[in-house]
Symmetry: C2
Subunit: 214 residues, 2 copies
């Protein structure tokens, strides 16, 4: 589905408001006002508020594919390098679409509020977890990774840590005394810290190497 400028404007405003106040907490009049359109345009273009959030999901899910396939094809990389690419691409994806992933998180907290959306999320999570399992099993086959790794909980730790870091970033800012830092600078600071932290975490946990400082 392709959208014109007005429709995109509505979707993007809705994304921001849904992320901030939740789906039920956001009225179509809120959206219409911030998007500078008449209330009736939402039903006119999307059919209903419910179909609007489904359109948002269909749109955002359609993006982001294919960039990670590069990493699978490249045979020059050693297992831990592939894991590191996976970590960084997950951080980039979640940090770069905070509003949408906030909404996704909310949807996961409700059980099956909208079947179409739940199905989108399930498919995405399945791709993510299978990709990580593939990389870990490759590393295990090469003898580089430990055998006793809980595959599905490793991806829980990856996405759980990133999501939770994003959800609590104000708290992180406060306890690390970064309240004065400019927003864009803070975002890249957090990305860098998350990257270091998760890479070190995964390296210690999945590899057979003895730990060495860097």
């Amino acid at each position: 589905m392709e959208y014109n400028a007005k429709q995109l404007q509505i979707i993007e405003v809705a994304e921001r408001l849904f992320a901030d106040k939740g789906f039920a907490g956001t009225s179509v009049r809120d959206i219409a006002q911030e998007a500078n359109v008449n209330v009736s345009m939402i039903s006119y273009y999307f059919g209903s508020k419910e179909k609007l959030i489904e359109a948002l999901f269909a749109m955002r899910m359609g993006e982001s594919r294919s960039r990670m396939e590069m990493l699978l094809g490249n045979e020059d990389l050693i297992p831990i390098q592939k894991i590191n690419i996976l970590i960084d691409s997950a951080i980039d994806r979640l940090m770069g679409n905070q509003c949408f992933h906030n909404i996704m998180m909310r949807e996961q907290l409700s059980s099956e509020r909208t079947p179409a959306i739940s199905e989108h999320i399930r498919a995405l999570k399945l791709r993510n977890v299978q990709l990580m399992q593939k990389l870990i099993e490759e590393g295990q086959a090469l003898g580089a990774f430990r055998k006793n790794i809980d595959l599905s909980l490793m991806s829980t730790t990856l996405y759980g840590t990133i999501n939770y870091a994003i959800a609590t970033q104000d708290f992180y800012k406060r306890i690390n005394g970064l309240e004065g830092m400019e927003e864009a600078e803070f975002q890249s600071h957090l990305k860098r810290k998350l990257s270091q932290h998760l890479k070190s975490l995964f390296k210690s946990t999945v590899t057979n190497e003895h730990h060495n400082q860097d």
Copy 2:
């Protein structure tokens, strides 16, 4: 504040519904119906729907203290044992109060929806992160733990992993083929897996010991 049976009934039903459908997505009539009370009783007892969720937070926050202080006082335990106790008590606390922590997670996703609640959450998170920092610094002082540990992101990983595991437990069930398992059994299964996973994760990451299988 102490509540009578009817008030507790309202709070507990509200907790379940807020967790499942969100605060804005739950109507006072939903709550009244499931709690078998008249709609007006909610305003009568709590003043408003908003004050009801604040009462819920005040009640749940008041519990759960003090059990973990035991772990701090005990000088017989080595650092990694204290960390393990912290992990298990976090798992027990979050898994044992899934509805409430679901609501807490939702509140963290909205920026400052209710200042009183945000303040409760901030205080709780501060206690948690400071406790973990204290334990890690003890271990570092004893030479048992590495020096280059990102203190605030370690607790992000702990709580992020548990919260995300709880939020996606239906998915976990499905990809691990546990759909037939009885609910109580699955809950203790997940607790055990989470405990093993997080202990192994923390051991690999924070200690100076070389890894050994168990």
